[in-house]
């Protein structure tokens, strides 16, 4: 009898050892992610290992299916997903601009309730309501869409120094031209670049956010003298030789090498461009080697005649990840998606982004002593900015800023006048406004 009961117990234990772990173990949860990722950036390998692989190691019960895209293909895929109502569970987003429809159509959740007490770890400004009036994505950084990168030794070799005013910049043009150099480089073959990285700053200086908000409310027009004046100043950049039409034939990637090899002393781009010049860990090489990086300076465009905002730059509270609104509240999937978003904006990841791309952390508890000189310069660069103004593609819907994007190229090529572009933009705005 004893033998029988022992045998029974052993059989039960054997059965339990086979079935119990399987039933008690957590069911793997699959999370789909649309990630904005430049695979050619020097810090790409660290991101794959330290962000995505590390998350899968720490959370074996969460299976992440990630889709990496960059620049236009990313935005186009996002729109396609949104149109098809098949948004991934976690999606990289802007606080407005190209992601506006995700906010305003309520395709992503309000993350504030999920954030709870963890809000104390973030700078207050980054948790402000976004385009849809709620916290649709948890920002990982602050972003300045305009920066003037300066090759200081190249300037000094020609007896020039960093210009303080637009007049000083114009005075440099003949000297640079005589030495076979361009003045300002931009990779503006894609039409968003001029609007985002240069013209938004000009509008901030000459028009100001208040006027933009008046336009947005229908109380002012793009054809008003202030906005047309900003377009006219932009047109003048070509007349003065500060900008060359070559920028519209230069791709966004090509310009990195051109600036690093001294084809011009200035480059206008967003502050994120820094990451393209840093050391690539896989090769140990950098477009601008670490020992040369202190020779490069980041600043803002010099003072523009008639500006109403001094030392301003255009910028947005940064990008981050949002969560598909269709995920049921309180579900295991929501918990898994939030775990991923928390990790992506957590201290380890923000520290890595600071070291690889000089991304200004949105958390208050992130620092590092392992950063390259250009990253230090990117942090210092924010001291030059007294006022941060709107980026046009963040303030307006795509339907409205598209005529500006195309129009800026047309002005540069001499195909359209500033007033014509202003009128076309106003027509697009009127059509959009009428539907609101």
């Amino acid at each position: 009898m004893l033998r029988k009961s022992t045998l029974l117990l052993l059989v039960l234990l054997l059965v339990a050892s086979v079935f119990v772990p399987a039933t008690l173990a957590e069911e793997p949860i699959k999370i789909t992610v649309l990630n904005y990722f430049d695979l050619t950036a020097p810090g790409a390998e660290r991101e794959i290992n330290e962000v995505w692989y590390e998350f899968s190691v720490r959370n074996p019960h969460i299976i992440v299916e990630r889709e990496d895209l960059f620049l236009e293909p990313f935005h186009q895929k996002t729109e396609a997903y949104a149109a098809a109502d098949k948004l991934p569970d976690v999606v990289f987003m802007w606080p407005g601009g190209r992601s506006t429809s995700l906010h305003t159509l309520g395709l992503v959740k309000d993350l504030r309730p999920l954030l709870g007490d963890d809000a104390k770890y973030y700078q207050e400004a980054v948790l402000a309501p976004q385009a849809g009036g709620y916290l649709a994505e948890l920002p990982q950084t602050m972003t300045s869409s305009h920066a003037l990168y300066v090759n200081v030794p190249l300037l000094e070799s020609l007896g020039l120094s960093v210009p303080e005013t637009y007049e000083e910049l114009v005075a440099m043009v003949p000297v640079l031209k005589a030495n076979g150099l361009d003045t300002i480089l931009m990779g503006a073959q894609d039409d968003w670049v001029i609007q985002s990285c240069l013209f938004s700053m000009i509008v901030g200086r000459l028009v100001g956010d208040e006027k933009l908000y008046e336009i947005l409310r229908g109380e002012a027009k793009f054809t008003d003298p202030e906005f047309v004046g900003a377009l006219e100043f932009y047109a003048q950049l070509y007349e003065d030789g500060v900008l060359n039409r070559k920028i519209m034939q230069t791709s966004y990637a090509e310009v990195n090498g051109l600036f690093a090899t001294g084809r011009a002393p200035f480059l206008v781009d967003g502050d994120w461009k820094v990451s393209n010049f840093l050391t690539d860990l896989t090769t140990g090489e950098a477009l601008i080697p670490v020992d040369k990086q202190p020779e490069f300076k980041m600043t803002i465009f010099p003072a523009i005649p008639g500006e109403i905002n001094k030392a301003s730059s255009s910028g947005v509270v940064g990008v981050g990840f949002g969560m598909n609104a269709k995920i049921p509240a309180g579900s295991a999937k929501e918990a898994a998606a939030w775990e991923l978003i928390k990790w992506l904006q957590g201290p380890e990841v923000q520290k890595m982004r600071l070291e690889t791309a000089g991304t200004i952390p949105s958390r208050i508890d992130v620092t590092s002593d392992n950063i390259e000189p250009l990253v230090v310069e990117r942090i210092r660069y924010y001291e030059d900015i007294l006022v941060t103004t709107e980026v046009l593609d963040n303030a307006f819907e795509g339907e409205v800023y598209t005529p500006i994007n195309i129009g800026l190229q047309e002005i540069g090529l001499g195909f359209a006048t500033p007033m014509e572009v202003a009128q076309r933009t106003q027509e697009a705005f009127d059509a959009w406004f009428a539907r609101q």
Binding site: R245, R263, D393, F415
Partner: protein
Amino acid sequence: MKRVVQWWTEERRAYLLLVLPAVAVYWAVMAFPTVFSFILSLTNYNGGPIFGNSNIQLVGFRHYLRMFNDQYFWISLKNNGLIMAVSVFGQIPLGFLFAYVIHRKLVKFGDFFQTIVYLPCVISTIIVGRLWQSFFSPYGPFTEFMQKIQPGWENELFYDPKMAIVPVLFVILWMYTGTYMIMFLANLQKIDPALIEAARIDGATEWQVLLRIMLPSLSGVIVTACILAISGSLKSFDLLYAMTGGNPARRTSVLSLYMWDNAFRHAPNYPLANAISVFMVLVSFILILLVRFTEAKFGGRED
């Protein structure tokens, strides 16, 4: 009952068995999307679910009117016309010329030249686009080469609205001529050599052999090549997307890029994008019918 039995013959069953799968696939991936695209082009659909969406309403031909009133539509259409012209009057004659020269052994190392001409076809279009974009860049090899010849030369190829598409046309000619060469070469090899030999014995010149034997024998192939060239020209997208993205200022855009811009770039307008695609289908049909008509009237002397 008897009539039904007669209709449902073994022959008919076999016929349906063979034809229905192809018809079903064709309907699913070609005909239905085309019809559905036309319906969407008449609505105000702006994303989200299509079926059961009560916000979708018919708005008539509003999007077609907007399309015809948009200057970028006409720029794109003109560029498509130029690409078509280069394809039909550039790629096909050149492809035939290369095929003829190689087939008739008018040059040595025919296999080598065949490989050289066909090589661009086996390279990814995106890579080809990027390579040529770098080549024509104001800081690229083309500019440097021209500056060696003429110091101070400025690369303004893309700034003149009439010239901006020219580098793209050159690349299209370079890239796809090999396809037509292979097509013609394969068909030239099917012509009975005895026929050509007999003509030569009878005193025909090379020119007469070409005009009286070769070209008539290939009229069907030429029509096929024209249809491929026309449809290929209308759907050309990848090379332009990689090389110029339709810029500067949309001056190198084509209808497919224009459609893409309206569907996915900046300000999605799906009905307008569908209207553009319907227009492209209609243009394709008309042009292919035109080619068919031309072939029926002037070609078809193979017999």
